[in-house]
Symmetry: C2
Subunit: 132 residues, 2 copies
DNA sequence: GTACAATTTCAAGTGAACTTGAAGTCAAGA
DNA sequence: TCTTGACTTCAAGTTCACTTGAAATTGTAC
């Protein structure tokens, strides 16, 4: 049970096998071992790697960014300046994302509460789009 | 100055003219007036509409969703149940997005702070990917 | 050993959100 | 009037994140 086929990994992770191969192709998932015959064999560690990818995606990272993030993690040297720089930049992007999402939340909440006919009237003066 | 060409609108909003025509095509931006000859003329109100679209996009809404959102705003009837239902559903999606972004933030922050070699060691037990 | 499912690679297709290109029309200045 | 640049429509191209299909190989169950 320590060695999983791509089908088992896909099933457990809720992905298609094609997605897993794609992740490997673009380098966000390390190349797994191969048994004689060429079939891939995964250790359970792959689930953590997949979970990281999915979380990063849901947080708005592109695959290219995830690739950089992951390659930082994969290196055998201590986390380097390169990873740190990217991570710090991403952190501020995440904060901006959160701020925007909260702005959108306010707009929707005021839309739900009020009885106005259009956007101009509906968003209270102080919360107009331009200000957000 | 009350009537703007598509080029002026694009310039001020930081978009391509093609994007503005595209928004009109898919119905997230109302059809503007046309002068003799067929050129579009916009009132300054278009900037608010564009700002709403951009904010919604940045908050993770698809164009199809924005279309529904906008059509709710555009109707001449008071904001109806249909708009409200969608908005409420989107609100909870936004909250989920914010939660995920905060989870990613925690991961990145611990990555920045620590000296570990890989993801397994790097994310403190309690904050492993699976738990987020 | 014979099915049959799962896997392999590689190329091409998909949907979303636009952009680019072609071919022609319109508007403003010299 | 002529030129130049902005505009028009329509179709096709682009990027991202995958999926789908084809054709061959491998692994497993009987």
């Amino acid at each position: 049970m320590n060695e999983l086929t791509i089908g088992e990994v896909a099933q457990s992770a809720g992905l298609r096998t094609s997605a897993i191969r794609y992740y490997e192709d673009i380098g966000v998932l390390p190349q797994p071992a191969r048994v004689y015959g060429g079939h891939r064999r995964y250790s359970p560690r792959v689930f953590q790697q997949l979970a990281f990818i999915q979380l990063a995606q849901q947080a708005g990272f592109s695959m290219a960014e995830i690739q950089t993030l992951v390659s930082g993690f994969d290196e055998n040297a201590p986390l380097g300046v390169r990873w740190r720089t990217l991570a710090e930049q991403k952190l501020s992007e995440l904060e901006a994302l959160i701020t925007r999402a909260q702005g959108m939340k306010r707009i929707l909440e005021s839309g739900i509460r009020c009885q106005c006919l259009n956007l101009d009237e509906c968003i209270p003066q102080k919360e107009r789009c331009e200000k957000l």
